[in-house]
Amino acid sequence: MEDCLARKMEITVSEAEKRTGRNAVNMQETYTAYLIETRAVESQSEGQCAPVDSLWRRYSEFELLRNYLSVTYPHIVVPPLPEKRADFVWHKLSADNMDPDFVERRRIGLENFLLRVASHPVLCQDKIFYSFLTQEGGWKEMVNETGFQLKADSRLKALNATFRVKNPDKRFTELKHYSDELQSVISHLLRVRARVADRLYGVYKVHGNYGRVFSEWSAIEKEMGDGLQSAGHHMDVYAASIDDILEEEEHYADQLKEYLFYAEALRAVCRKHELMQYDLEMAAQDLTSKKQQCEELATGTVRTFSLKGMTSKLFGQETPEQREAKIKVLEEQIQEGEEQLKSKNLESRDFVKSAWTDIERFKEQKNHDLKEALISYAVMQISMCKKGIQVWTNAKECFSKM
């Protein structure tokens, strides 16, 4: 953590602005741009505040950055971006991307993303990431020049494709299973939370109806009038209080959502390992069959059934020269294959080692963050209860004076 960027640089996504422009097919579009501000953290003794650098980026650029990081560091659990579209909404929240509350929450999510990357021991050192923060023009071209898209394995895009791996790594299998469970349980939780929020909103708001009726009723009462009127006022306060309460809870939901998306990132690492393992097994299998072919040609025995063997039996044997040529080609291929297999094995071992380091780091981060989130949820509930007690204590006093 000592060398990570977050220690050396203050990063904020401080503003969001609506823009209009022309897209790739020259059609007018509206989008939101986010202002990224960075400032070098000076040591205390200097006393001076460094100047703030800033540049504007839109969501699609963040996406490009993340894709680049995912492909370039396949063994890293790459921090997720906030959701593209509003999901798990309850009725009061808008599902509109242009809604100011949604934009605000996305701004916070993007800032959080940058801070996560900046405090990651490996990712923070990436030059493209640094340029994303500091270089306004030409960044897109720089990223594309890295050619990372070529490295991206299109097979990974097929989310449900399974690679039949003969000797799966048990740890990765368990981890993939865990990431699936985590995704499932968090999304279930978020769905129910949204419904609970909706209902809670209903309970509070209906109490607001008391206010007007009490007020109108108090007009025809002599002794009861004052008590009714003031009680009605407190009911209005009660009804209004739910807006802030649920706004705060939305931030808690966002914290959970981050880990919902983190689960996907975790799963991606497992998939990449799976693919790597698959390729390794395929390469080993290929090498074995080539070796076998070579042996058969050399000794003249056919151990396994092959179409070539059959056709040669039907249409006559090859000449010794032809056979020699074939053996030579095969021997070359076998040599190549063995080198490739060796390097693939090394690659795989390195991947597993560094992936597992990052996974351990991620686990600790996850446990810490989620525990804090649960605590903050409790704090929110406590605050809500205290507000409720205050309002109803006041209302009770008014009622008792009726």
């Binding site: 865990y178 469970e181 985590l182 349980v185 968090i186 279930h188 939780l189 129910v192 939370r193 419904r195 609970v196 909706d198 209902r199 809670l200 209903g202 309970v203 209906v206 109490h207 109806n209 008391y210 009726v213 109108e216 009723w217 007009a219 025809i220 002794e223 009861m224 008590g227 009680a231 446990n367 989620l370 525990k371 649960l374 605590i375 949820y377 409790a378 704090v379 509930q381 406590i382 209860c385 205290k386 409720g388 007690i389 109803w392 204590t393 209302a395 009770k396 009622f399 008792s400 009726m402």
Partner: protein, 393 residues
């Protein structure tokens, strides 16, 4: 009433404790001064060839001299309550007779003979009789006494003795006739004020009734969603190690809050909803009472008008008018006194009911607060332990 093919007993046959009765009826009579205690409980269904109906046990405990015994136990059905109410209205046209629960609920929320319906009705019937018992005039009504004390066959025969169908019809005809002539013309200011008041009050109480039902419905929907919320956290804890305890803690808190919500809901159902409903019914009764007073006034007014056109038999008329004037004065006084009494009771009922609602909410929030605070304490203890262990090299 007498041929019982089958008798089923319901489980909700708990007798009401005297202390809860005292809480319900904080009228001007102090509990120590009450000499008549009535409970309605133990609903039983009776199935005959012709009909199915329910009887309720009515237990009366009294120290009054007019009663031969100090304790009575009878069974009454809804019809009998209706009979009692109409007799009281007959005898005291300008007194405010307490409301009876409706014949059946139209809303379709509850079936005719469901446990919920029967229990709601039982409570309302209990209230009805107790309100009569607390009324300074109605409590001494003879039909009331017979209702409380007579055995089934005695009551039947007594019912048949009442004024015949024809005379009751005659009364209705006269009532309709006089209502055509009004009685509004010479209505004292006080009663116009009462009328205006009742119109507004009726509007407001109906809206309040609707609001209360809405709140109950929303709280119930909230409760239903909450029931699912806690268990998800427990499910999640199964795939975690480090944070399993925190997750289980949250699950437990949510479940406790869920139960607290259920209690709050039950409080509304038991307390606020029945009272508001009773007062919705009261508004009709009060409008009716005001109308009947107007009718009595109308009788007087029409006779006075008729007298103005008469040349002979003036003396006879004057005597009749004198009687009617007395009647009007009695009616007015009775109504005025009962109105004041009703308003006081209403104020008292509303004060205590809404205070109860506030209390119920306070208990709810206090319980939830305690739950979450205790969870928070457990978590921060863990954090301190963790921090301490991190400091060690």
């Amino acid at each position: 009433d007498t041929s019982l093919a089958e008798v089923n007993s319901f489980s909700s046959s708990m007798p009401i404790s005297p202390s809860s009765m005292i809480n319900q009826y904080k009228f001007e009579d102090e509990p120590e001064l009450r000499d008549l205690f009535i409970t309605v409980d133990d609903p039983e269904s009776h199935i005959t060839a012709i009909e199915t109906f329910i009887t309720y046990r009515v237990v009366t405990k009294t120290s009054r001299g007019e009663f031969d015994s100090s304790e009575y136990e009878v069974r009454r059905r809804y019809q009998d309550f209706l009979w009692l109410k109409s007799k009281l209205e007959e005898a005291h046209p300008t007194l405010i007779i307490p409301p009876l629960p409706e014949k059946f609920i139209m809303k379709g929320m509850v079936e005719r003979f469901s446990d919920e319906f029967i229990e709601t009705r039982r409570k309302a019937l209990h209230k009805f009789l107790n309100r009569i018992a607390d009324h300074p005039t109605l409590t001494f009504n003879e039909d009331f006494k017979i209702f409380l004390t007579a055995q089934a066959w005695e009551l039947s025969s007594h019912k048949k003795q009442g004024p015949g169908l024809l005379s009751r019809m005659g009364q209705t005809v006269r009532a309709v006739a006089s209502s055509v002539r009004g009685g509004v013309k010479n209505r004292p200011e006080m009663f116009t004020e009462m009328n205006d008041y009742m119109e507004t009050f009726s509007q407001k109480i109906n809206v309040l009734d609707k609001i209360a039902h809405r709140i109950y419905k929303e709280e119930r929907e909230y409760f239903n969603e909450m029931k699912e919320y806690g268990p998800i956290h427990t499910l999640w804890s199964a795939s975690e190690e480090d944070i399993a305890d925190s997750l289980k803690g949250v699950a437990s808190c949510i479940d406790k809050c869920c139960k607290a919500t259920e209690k709050r809901m039950a409080g509304l159902l038991e307390n606020l909803l029945p009272i508001l409903h009773e007062y919705v019914l009261y508004t009709e009764i009060l409008m009716g009472v005001l109308k009947r007073r107007d009718q009595i006034q109308g009788e007087l007014d029409s006779k006075v008008d008729a007298l103005a056109n008469k040349k002979t038999e003036k003396d006879l008329f004057s005597e009749e008018i004198g009687k009617l004037e007395d009647k009007v004065e009695c009616a007015n006084n009775a109504l005025k006194a009962d109105w004041d009494r009703w308003k006081q009771n209403m104020q008292c009922d509303m004060r205590s009911t809404f205070t109860n609602v506030a209390d119920s909410n306070l208990h709810y929030y206090e319980e939830c607060l305690a739950t979450w605070e205790s969870f928070l304490a457990s978590q921060t203890v863990d954090l301190h332990v963790e921090e301490d262990s991190e400091d060690r090299p």
